[in-house]
Symmetry: C2
Subunit: 156 residues, 2 copies
């Protein structure tokens, strides 16, 4: 049985995040010691790994919840899992397309900057007026609510 800190080290998940997953019902309530501390078994470790891997692939928690439900009974058809994955793929592709066009716009802006004063900077000018843009509209990709964990050293 692992304490929460060990589970954290094992899965690369911050301790408050684990408790958060428990709060929102993604992780079941673990056993407790007499002194009320959480103890986790192997199943929980796997479950958390699954969650984290899905998060790393950009799945929102709502999808992960559905995927966990599915993987909880192995006899069901995998159709909905595939649907979720395909949907996620479409999302990713949508975001890729938007970002590619943003990239283009930004490149153009920056290229045109001659390095003078603000008054004649093409960056500022382009930002002020979308008419300078090539794309007729920017569709900023939907968030995808990613976790960012800043460079963390391994718990060695």
């Amino acid at each position: 049985m692992l304490a929460i800190g060990q589970l954290s080290a094992e899965t690369g998940t911050k301790v408050p995040t684990i408790r958060y997953y428990e709060d929102i019902g993604l992780l079941p309530q673990p056993e407790r010691t007499a002194g009320n501390q959480r103890r986790y078994g192997k199943r929980q470790v796997d479950r958390l790994r699954f969650i984290r891997h899905c998060r790393d692939l950009g799945f929102p928690l709502s999808d992960i919840r559905a995927l966990l439900d599915l993987s909880d009974d192995p006899d069901r058809s995998c159709a909905s899992a595939d649907t979720i994955a395909r949907h996620q793929l479409r999302e990713v592709e949508r975001r890729l397309a938007s970002l590619a066009s943003l990239r283009q716009e930004l490149c153009r802006m920056i290229d045109q900057c001659a390095g003078g004063t603000v008054a004649d900077c093409h960056v500022i000018e382009s930002l002020a007026d979308h008419a300078h843009c090539i794309a007729d509209r920017h569709m900023t990709p939907a968030p995808m609510e990613q976790h960012v964990d800043p460079p963390r050293r391994d718990p060695a």
Copy 2:
């Protein structure tokens, strides 16, 4: 002078969002009618357009604040504007790279699904175990806090 709803229509910004920008000091407090309603002039319209265009290009509000400060006095050097834009470009490129690798992983997963039960679905299996992945680590791109406005019909 425009009422807030007209400004909203003019710039494609939701009314609560305009008030929010005012709250956080991105937009100055506008004049008011005797009955306490906001009235906006042309400068405000331009300022809001600038903000929105930047948002559409993925700039975070903190950067937009800096860009607005710059564009407020045109004699300064545009160097920092360019730095911000370049930084944003790097961000976008980072996110493009991550998404490309996510896309690859998702494609592989989906391709391998034979359509049976959950027990032998490769999608579920791949999600459960990162060892099936090609990339040795997924770096989920930082959020970039985009606004999503779901298909909204024009206030005609």
